[in-house]
């Protein structure tokens, strides 16, 4: 097939859009069922307390109220919300009841619920529930939590686990190292904030249960709910209808999903719960929240000897689905794209009385990339090199791939030189450096800073055997089914579960090429365990790199079956039958059959090869051998007003290499959205708890998501170094932007402020924080100057008296 004919690589407009731009959507909250009841949850106002009394009787009599439940009502059947990633043998996985029974451990934990005939009445009756609490001490700071005598979140103490990994001789690397960079960075707590709030609809006919949920993981959810509630898996159907974004936040088994199932089982009526945004900010799992100490030992010429990382990771009050695993997804990434002889990583998971953390776009890898990319800039300053030069001296050269890193991963392919050269050219690096020098000379109150992030990441989760070796509770394969229908159109069933990624379009492009059918003739079924029986769902930039390959393999099987039928009908040997552009042709002749003709002939089954099963469909399950390693170079120029602390992004250039691209439009969209979220961490967002453990950022007025007015236009481009580990040559693309952007922005801000002695600014780098950092620096500088003056005066006196 010639390239001009190929669907893969084309900027196809999305099939999904027709529904979405006309409002014919199927969000979970849209669902209305006959007799449906509405659930509202009462949530703990205390960060840590014993529940001493629950009285729901007054609420029972309120208008429209059908039932009211406290935690004790579910105690016998609610089980414990699952943690599927017991990272060490001695990890502490506390009991996590979906509805608190005797103790609450974060503000927002569900303590009771009302089931009523409409959502207003359910919410009204919450007022009538009486709960008495005996306050316990909150635990809010990770370092204090680990100190002797700290109040504890759970009886077992505040440490969930310590996980270690080491390669090479780290002692040797740091012994007499000419240069050592030692920094502590704060990864603030974030709220993923998918635009669609969570929603659940549960129903039963007494035998079978159906759960609609705004989830990324219908398949995993079904397994986990079966294990948690005891509803047998084969009698439970989970549906993810249209889902409005996830970013990891809907990769969860939530209390509300479990409780809605239990309520529908009790009452025999369909129930719906939709969260409000304020409820969501409190109770959708949070992201990041790590304290990172990173030490880099290097030679005078900037070459790295070794990297040592010591992490504290805030788990929040409980371990949810993959809470403890998130920081460990970064464990193999703190070495970044760089070569070194030794690496040492330790992570301690800490319980606090806050909302549990879990996956948020990038999950572990943004944190790792931030630390190493920030440290590279510090190293550059220390050894007096341009920050790009210090990276060049350390990165893996294109000629060195495949390369096994110090962390034990084999990067199959990459070309850091090409992506960087392209980015530098688009950015106008040298010119900006000249302007920066000029502004510094002029002592311009608005300083220019340039930030670099040369990142890679591991995604396409994941080889099942690797997940197993990391104690993860499931595999990392993906499944696909391809069915040629009698009329020659194609139905695809995928185990991936898109919520904005455009799988319907991209999968259609892949199938169109593989089977030679028109793009329009392919439809894709997903997100319903009744029609898509097998899958591992969508997260970790895995859908194309794993699910796309399963699809290719299923298409191959269908094609081979069709070839047999075609050969039979054309009275040729299958070996002599070629396939291209949807046609089977006997080599060297003009005899041909289209794949559509074969589909119809197979359906009719009048004349098939001896023993041939009359079906033109196939399934495939693909388990990758390796992760995929997209990479790229992001460059950010900021102007920082040193008088107000305000940062303006002047330009942002991203050159990413995600291998082969199925749909450049979709990839660009993913990169844009990723960058926006990365910038948001750098500049705007932080989930803030007060000293009592109350979340202060419960609304979108307090937790600042960037609007269009807050962000610049991004310049994006790609280089294309195909993955060698899958037949499409593709790498994941969903998280790269977020992973790369945060350090690029903060590096730029710190770069702008270097002349003022600033070496770090804590995220989010709000105007106030930048301004305070500058003021503190100025004070310190003044103190240093005074001391120097005093010393000089002292010396003069001494000299005079001598």
């Amino acid at each position: 097939m010639t390239d001009t004919m190929s669907e893969v690589g084309r900027a196809r407009r999305r099939k999904e859009d027709a529904r979405l731009v006309t409002g014919r959507t199927q969000w979970t909250d849209n669902i209305q069922l006959p007799g449906m009841l509405h659930v509202a949850f009462l949530r703990s106002p205390m960060a840590h307390a014993r529940i001493t009394r629950v009285d729901v009787s007054a609420a029972r009599g309120r208008p429209g109220v059908v039932a009211v439940f406290g935690g004790a009502d579910f105690a016998a059947e609610q089980g414990s919300l699952p943690c599927a990633w017991p990272v060490t043998e001695d990890v502490v996985i506390p009991d996590h009841p979906p509805m608190a029974v005797s103790e609450v451990r974060y503000v927002g934990e569900a303590v009771a619920c009302v089931v009523a005939t409409d959502r207003y009445k359910a919410a009204d009756a919450l007022d009538a529930i009486e709960i008495d609490y005996e306050p316990l001490e909150p635990v809010l700071d990770m370092t204090e939590a680990l100190a002797e005598g700290s109040p504890t979140v759970h009886e077992s103490g505040n440490k969930a686990f310590t996980w270690k990994f080491a390669q090479g001789d780290i002692g040797e690397a740091f012994r007499d190292a000419p240069v050592v960079i030692d920094r502590t960075f704060v990864q603030q707590r974030l709220i993923p904030s998918a635009m669609e709030p969570r929603a659940v609809v549960a129903q039963t006919d007494g035998d079978r249960f159906t759960l609609h949920s705004a989830t990324q993981i219908p398949h995993i959810l079904r397994v986990m709910l079966a294990l948690t509630t005891g509803i047998p898996e084969h009698r439970l159907r989970v549906i993810a209808p249209d889902v409005g974004g996830g970013f990891g936040s809907k990769l969860q088994v939530t209390a509300e999903e479990v409780l809605c199932l239990l309520i529908t089982r009790r009452l025999g009526r369909p129930v719906k719960w939709t969260e409000s945004r304020s409820e969501g900010n409190l109770t959708v799992h949070h992201g990041r929240d790590q304290l990172q100490r990173i030490s880099v030992a290097a030679e005078r010429d900037g070459r790295i000897r070794g990297v040592k990382v010591d992490l504290l990771a805030d788990m929040g009050a409980y371990l949810m689905l993959v809470t403890p695993g998130v920081p460990l997804l970064g464990a193999f990434m703190y070495n970044g794209i760089y070569k070194m002889d030794a690496y040492d990583f330790t992570c301690t998971g800490v319980f606090t009385t806050k909302m549990p953390t879990d996956a948020y776009r990038g999950a572990g890898r943004p944190e790792a990339t931030y630390a190493i990319e920030r440290a590279m800039d510090e190293l550059a300053v220390e050894v007096g090199l341009d920050p790009m030069e210090v990276r060049r001296r350390n990165w893996i050269k294109h000629s060195e791939f495949p390369y096994t890193t110090i962390a034990g991963l084999t990067y199959d392919s990459g070309n850091y030189e090409a992506a960087t050269d392209r980015a530098l050219a688009l950015f106008g690096y040298d010119k900006l450096r000249a302007e920066q020098a000029d502004r510094r000379d002029r002592r311009d109150p608005v300083q220019l800073g340039i930030g670099i992030s040369t990142y890679t990441e591991m995604c396409g989760l994941a080889p099942s055997r690797v997940l197993g070796s990391l104690s993860y509770g499931a595999g990392g394969w993906e499944h696909a089914e391809v069915r040629m229908l009698p009329t020659g159109t194609v139905e695809v069933v995928t185990g991936t579960s898109p919520h904005g990624q455009g799988h319907v379009t991209a999968w259609s492009q892949i199938v169109a090429d593989a089977l030679g059918v028109p793009f329009e003739d392919v439809s894709v079924i997903h997100g319903d365990t009744a029609s898509s029986h097998k899958g591992m769902d969508t997260y970790g930039s895995r859908s194309l790199a794993v699910g796309g390959i399963a699809l290719v393999q299923a298409c191959e099987k269908v094609r081979e079956k069709a070839r047999q039928v075609a050969a039979h009908l054309m009275e040729a040997s299958a070996d002599d039958v070629e396939f291209s552009d949807g046609r089977f042709r006997v080599r060297g002749t003009t005899t041909e059959r289209t794949i559509q003709e074969i589909a119809l002939a197979t359906f009719a089954a009048h004349d098939l090869p001896e023993g041939f099963e009359p079906r033109l469909d196939a399934q495939a399950t693909f388990d990758p051998d390796n992760f995929s390693f997209p990479h790229g170079t992001h460059l950010c120029a900021v102007e920082v007003d040193t008088e107000t602390g305000a940062t303006t992004i002047r330009s942002y250039v991203a050159v990413d290499d995600v291998g082969k691209v199925v749909n450049p439009l979709i990839v660009e969209g993913q990169v844009h959205g990723g960058i926006a979220q990365g910038i948001a961490q750098a500049l705007f967002e932080e989930a803030v708890y007060d000293a009592e453990g109350n979340l202060l950022t419960t609304t979108m007025a307090d937790y600042l998501l960037p609007s269009a007015a807050d962000l610049p236009d991004f310049v994006t481009d790609r280089t294309e170094t195909p993955a060698t580990t899958n037949p499409l040559g593709v790498k994941g693309a969903g998280e790269a932007g977020t992973i790369a952007a945060t350090p690029a922005v903060v590096n730029a801000i710190v770069d702008a402020l270097r002349p003022y002695g600033v070496r770090d600014v804590r995220m989010p780098c709000t105007p106030e924080r930048v301004w305070r950092t500058l003021q503190n620096r100025a004070l310190q500088n003044r103190a240093l100057q005074n001391r120097a003056l005093q010393n000089r005066a002292l010396r003069n006196e001494e000299g005079a008296s001598a």
């Binding site: 999305r14 731009v21 006309t22 959507t25 635009m195 409005g244 660009e668 844009h672 998501l705 962000l711």
Partner: protein
């Protein structure tokens, strides 16, 4: 319970509503107009934007009773005779949506924006859409779409 008369996407309704009922709940739960989604409870996100007598409003910050005697256009009433509004086409062409949750509000806010400024600069578009949040796209393609939509609307009305 007050009775309201309201025209939504070309159809007249006469309904009794609780005084506290929000317009967005009236549209979604009472009329089944689920094309208009809800993204927050503090009037910050703009997901619920509709046109009320031609002006864009956040339907979560309007009471159903306040919509009495008014004409509402939601995303569902934007196409005519099966033809998409130029702004709908522009969002599709420029890949200005991913999950699509913000899209109805974004499209209606954009249409309203162009009423005051039919040929806005990128900056004006960004400022004009400040009240509509999108978590997926990073806004670049939304800005492009609004520009394209503006161009097409200019051509079609001229």
């Amino acid at each position: 319970m007050p009775r309201i008369t309201v025209k939504v996407d070309g159809i007249s309704y006469e309904e009794d509503v609780e005084p506290r009922m929000l317009l967005v709940h009236f549209l979604r739960d009472r009329l089944g107009k689920t094309g208009t989604p809800i993204g927050c409870d503090t009037s910050n996100c703009g997901s619920c934007t509709v046109l009320m007598d031609g002006k864009s409003v956040k339907s979560c910050s309007v009471l159903a009773v306040q919509a009495d005697e008014s004409e509402i256009v939601t995303i569902e009433g934007l196409s005519s005779d099966g033809n998409w509004h130029p702004m709908q086409r522009a969002f599709h062409e420029e890949h200005a949506l991913q999950c699509g949750y913000c899209t109805p509000g974004m499209i209606l806010a954009a249409i309203d924006l162009l009423k005051d400024d039919p040929d806005p600069s990128d900056d004006a578009i960004r400022q004009g859409l400040e009240g509509n949040l999108c978590r997926c796209t990073g806004y670049c393609n939304i800005v492009r779409a609004v520009r394209r939509g503006a161009g097409e609307m200019g051509v079609t009305t001229r």
